[in-house]
């Protein structure tokens, strides 16, 4: 046994002087990591999975208090002194973190950063360290490793940065690699490459990997052993096949059921709490009317940014080129693409939050882009947007009430404040929040609740079209399911049309009637959802589909 954790508890001390409270983050976790295996820790945010992993090397903030036993090759790491731990860090146990952009130091070149741990732990000279760094970069599949040694982090793409991080972690041939959500910040196609890389390296170096993720689909592909955590305790652990084929714990079952998967037929996604209680989503899908009136017609939409070059020079960067689509009342248009494909820019252009360079957007037969200020203001009511990050899209200094009343006051909806307040409370009920939310500030809500508030804010204006810009991407799987269900309910009740922008094809195919696949600002494929799934015409679409984590598959080669 390489590492074994027994009854680990981690409390965070909060407050100063006198009134100190302890918040438990991990409440008695035990599991083992055998040699030469991949163990996955799965859980939603706040389940304590990262805290558990970080307590192995004591990379926790100072106010954390750990008790229990973490035995690494016969030594208790909880009792180890700081110099002892520093000997282990990087050499025996290495870490890869979620965001490669912030994990790399922007002012040092890749070569300098890679050479440092080599020289410290292996006691080799500068020359030898650089040679080793080059070999490592070649191993993690970075083209032209010699040239890349002199590059700075910002010159690399996200995927390459993560490869560099992995190469640094591998530098001293660690026995255990802790990977904390290493692919969460990356696109699906890059995610696939990184997963394959980790699996290959694990096999070649015969090391153990502790893989932390919120995504069961990813875990199923890479892990040998799965530990499911919730609220600081282990709910279930076992070999990956058993967890996926015969989950015993209600929570694990629910997690598996909540993922929108290819074979999903029901109109609503099951929600974790319902699933645990044994409720089945009953609401049937409302059939879509294929002849519903066209609300939004977009023709040859283009948006360019001009970058300054030299003193007078300008360089045109075409962010969006030649986008055409029709959106019918009550229908959903899915827009998929990797980051940088122009999908968000396209969404913002629809609302004229970006001024388009060319093309026309016909809303109910009238060109949105040719309107004057006054007409635009009235049109704003009818097309609204929900942003990706629920933590940033609400004004932190406004109460929820103020947030909801403001748009109504601007557009003169409701006769007086009392009537607007009544309407705001009604909408809060509609998105599943209780009236007590009215006087609270955004920081008092979780991510999913904030996204509901953002949706309620749009609804205050009775819009006909909602642009959902990665609206569920930042949410946990179970919360994602709740918000998606809410969106479906609202669509059925109010006949809303959605432009659903996401990088996650798994979610897009669940909600959409028609799908637009974008790459480098251009639409590469445009077809109905069934058609795209059944018979993708483009190579790029096939790659996107192939990159979706499928979870554990018996026949699939590991």
């Amino acid at each position: 046994m390489l590492l074994s954790i027994k009854d680990l508890r981690v409390d965070f001390r909060l407050g100063e002087r006198g009134d100190i409270t302890r918040v438990p983050a991990v409440a008695g976790v035990s599991f083992d990591i055998p040699e030469d295996t991949t163990v996955a820790l799965v859980g939603e945010s706040g389940s304590g999975k990262s805290v558990t992993a970080m307590s192995i090397l004591n990379l926790l903030p100072e106010n954390a208090e750990r008790t229990g036993v973490i035995e690494y090759q016969g030594r208790d790491l909880l009792k180890a002194s700081l110099p002892d731990l520093q000997q282990l860090r990087g050499k025996e146990i290495a870490c890869v973190f979620q965001d490669p952009m912030t994990s790399l130091n922007p002012v040092f070149s890749v070569g300098q950063q890679m050479a440092e741990p080599l020289r410290r732990h292996l006691n080799v000279g500068r020359r030898a360290a650089i040679d080793r760094a080059e070999a490592l970069l070649a191993e993690v599949g970075i083209p032209e490793p010699k040239r890349r040694l002199a590059s700075y982090p910002h010159e690399l793409s996200g995927g390459q940065q993560q490869r560099v991080m992995i190469a640094m972690a591998l530098a001293c041939e660690p026995k255990l690699l802790i990977a904390d959500e290493p692919t969460t910040a990356l696109d699906v196609t890059i995610q696939r490459q990184i997963l394959e890389l980790i699996a290959r390296l694990q096999e070649r170096h015969r090391m153990s990997v502790l893989f932390i993720s919120h995504d069961l689909g990813v875990v199923g592909e890479i892990a040998d052993h799965v530990v499911v955590m919730r609220q600081g305790v282990v709910r279930e652990q076992g070999p990956v096949a058993r967890i996926f084929q015969a989950p015993r714990d209600a929570y694990t079952k629910a997690l598996l059921a909540c993922r929108p998967s290819a074979g999903h037929t029901s109109a609503r996604l099951p929600v974790i709490d319902d699933h645990i209680e044994g409720k089945v989503p009953t609401r049937a899908a409302k059939p879509k009317d294929p002849n519903a009136p066209v609300l939004l017609r977009v023709r040859a939409l283009a948006k360019s940014f001009f970058l300054r070059e030299g003193v007078f020079g300008k360089r045109e960067f075409k962010a969006v080129r030649n986008v055409n689509f029709d959106l019918r009342r009550g229908h959903t248009l899915g827009v998929v693409g990797e980051s940088g494909s122009g999908k968000t820019t396209m969404g913002l252009t629809l609302l004229r939050l970006h001024e388009p360079t060319a093309g026309e957007v016909l809303f109910d037969g009238r060109n949105l882009l040719a309107m004057n200020e006054h007409e635009r203001q009235t049109m704003r009511r009818r097309i609204q947007i929900v942003f990706q990050n629920p933590y940033a899209s609400l004004n932190p200094r406004f109460t929820i009430g103020q947030t909801l009343l403001e748009p109504m006051a601007i557009h003169g909806i409701g006769a007086d404040t009392a009537e607007r307040e009544r309407r705001a409370l009604e909408l809060l009920g509609k998105v599943g929040l209780d009236a007590a939310a009215f006087g609270k500030y955004p920081h008092e809500f979780s991510g999913g609740q904030r996204q509901r508030i953002a949706i309620a804010r749009c609804l205050t204006l009775d819009p006909e079209v909602l642009v959902l810009d990665e609206a569920v991407s930042a949410l946990d799987v179970s919360v994602q399911a709740q918000v998606l269900n809410l969106l479906k309910d609202l669509q059925d009740d109010l006949g809303l049309a959605y432009v659903f922008i996401s990088h996650d094809l798994g979610v897009v195919r669940f909600v959409s009637d028609e799908i637009l696949v974008m790459k480098d600002g251009e639409v590469v494929e445009q077809a109905s959802a069934q058609q795209i799934l059944a018979a993708p015409a483009q190579e790029y679409t096939r790659r996107l589909l192939g990159a979706i984590p499928r979870g554990y598959q018996e026949a699939a080669p590991a």
Partner: protein
């Protein structure tokens, strides 16, 4: 849906806002609370002196010139080195004195006048100045003027800086280019030179000092507010406000401004400290408050010549008052920053 339902007003109650939370956090800071109390005491003192409750007669010459502080005791009488006054009765000169017949008339007229020779104190609590004015009263009156100048000038500078910074940060492009140009020109000229130039144009007076400091001190606020506005301009909540049709000014001042107000507040309190010191320098150089008024700066300027003669108390009084207020104010500003921006401390 159309039925008018009475709403339960209690659910609309707001929960603790940002400022209340900050105040709760501030109260936990012992150094901050003590400095707040000191600043509050100073403000009370200023209010009392402005309404004339204390230090109304700061110009009255109540002591002997350069009266020492009470705890030092009266100055020993000096040996003036004059010849001794002869003893014995006065010699009668009335038969040869041509003015003798008029002495009676004059003494009658003199009896009609009344002269009161005020008894001048030998010592004063904090000592007296060159004219025998009470240093303590002067220091209190000086506090009023100095703090008034500091606060008003920093409000003016903050106002200018915030408006310019908000415009430059929010609109960007041409507006930003123009304001950056103004900023660069302003900061390229040495501060003291700029102040002299303004002082020469506007003449002396408290209003002038406020104007000078306000017009020269906005650059720091401008840069910071501009940076904050650039940061917030593209935040999603501002975009969301644009999407619901909020106007330009509403986005600038209703949405963004409250979110950067803590930065401005702290910056302003730091300016107060800086401006008080600048006022002292200006007055010391003779460009500050007029001669019929007193500030810490004029006291220090007077102290320069007194110090050579060994009269140190005016310098001490002005220094103690100023050091106490400035230190307390700075510590209070620090505590406010901690309380308003917990991220800085890593507390939350």
């Amino acid at each position: 849906m159309t039925a008018v339902l009475p709403i339960d007003r209690s659910v609309l109650r707001r929960s603790e806002g940002v400022w209340r939370t900050a105040w709760r956090r501030f109260r936990g800071d012992r150094v901050g609370m003590v400095s707040l109390l000191i600043v509050a005491a100073f403000l009370l003192l200023i209010a009392a002196s402005a309404t004339g409750v204390v230090a109304r007669h700061w110009q009255a010459e109540v002591g002997v010139p350069n009266a020492p502080p009470t705890f030092l005791g009266p100055r020993p009488p000096e040996d003036l080195g004059t010849i001794e006054v002869p003893k014995g009765p006065n010699v009668d000169l009335s038969d040869v004195d041509p003015l003798a017949p008029r002495y009676k008339e004059w003494s009658e007229r003199a009896a009609q006048m009344k002269t009161t020779e005020a008894v001048r104190a030998d010592t004063l609590p904090f000592g007296g100045d060159r004219l025998g004015r009470d240093v303590l009263s002067k220091a209190i009156k000086g506090t009023e003027v100095s703090v008034f100048v500091g606060v008003l000038a920093s409000v003016l500078a903050t106002l200018i800086g915030t408006l310019f910074g908000a415009a430059a940060g929010f609109f960007g492009q041409r507006v930003n280019d123009f304001l950056e140009w103004v900023y660069n020109v302003f900061t390229a000229v040495p501060d003291i030179l700029l102040i002299f130039a303004f002082a020469a144009v506007f003449g002396r007076g408290i209003g002038t000092v406020v104007l000078i400091l306000g017009l020269t001190g906005w650059a720091g606020v401008y840069r910071q507010v501009r940076a904050e506005f650039i940061k917030h301009r593209n935040r999603e909540y501002v975009r969301a406000a644009e999407a619901i049709g909020a106007s330009m000014s509403s986005r600038m001042f209703r949405h963004i401004l409250p979110n950067v107000s803590h930065v401005i507040l702290v910056r302003m309190s730091l300016l107060v400290v800086g401006f008080i010191k600048f006022e002292v320098i200006l007055s010391y150089l003779g460009l500050g408050v007029p001669v019929d008024q007193v500030s810490w700066g004029t006291m220090l300027a007077e102290a320069q010549s007194e110090l050579i003669l060994g009269y140190w108390w005016q310098l001490a009084a002005a220094t103690v008052f100023m050091a106490l207020f400035v230190t307390a104010f700075s510590l209070m500003a620090d505590a406010w920053r901690d309380a308003l921006d917990p991220k800085l401390r890593g507390a939350e």
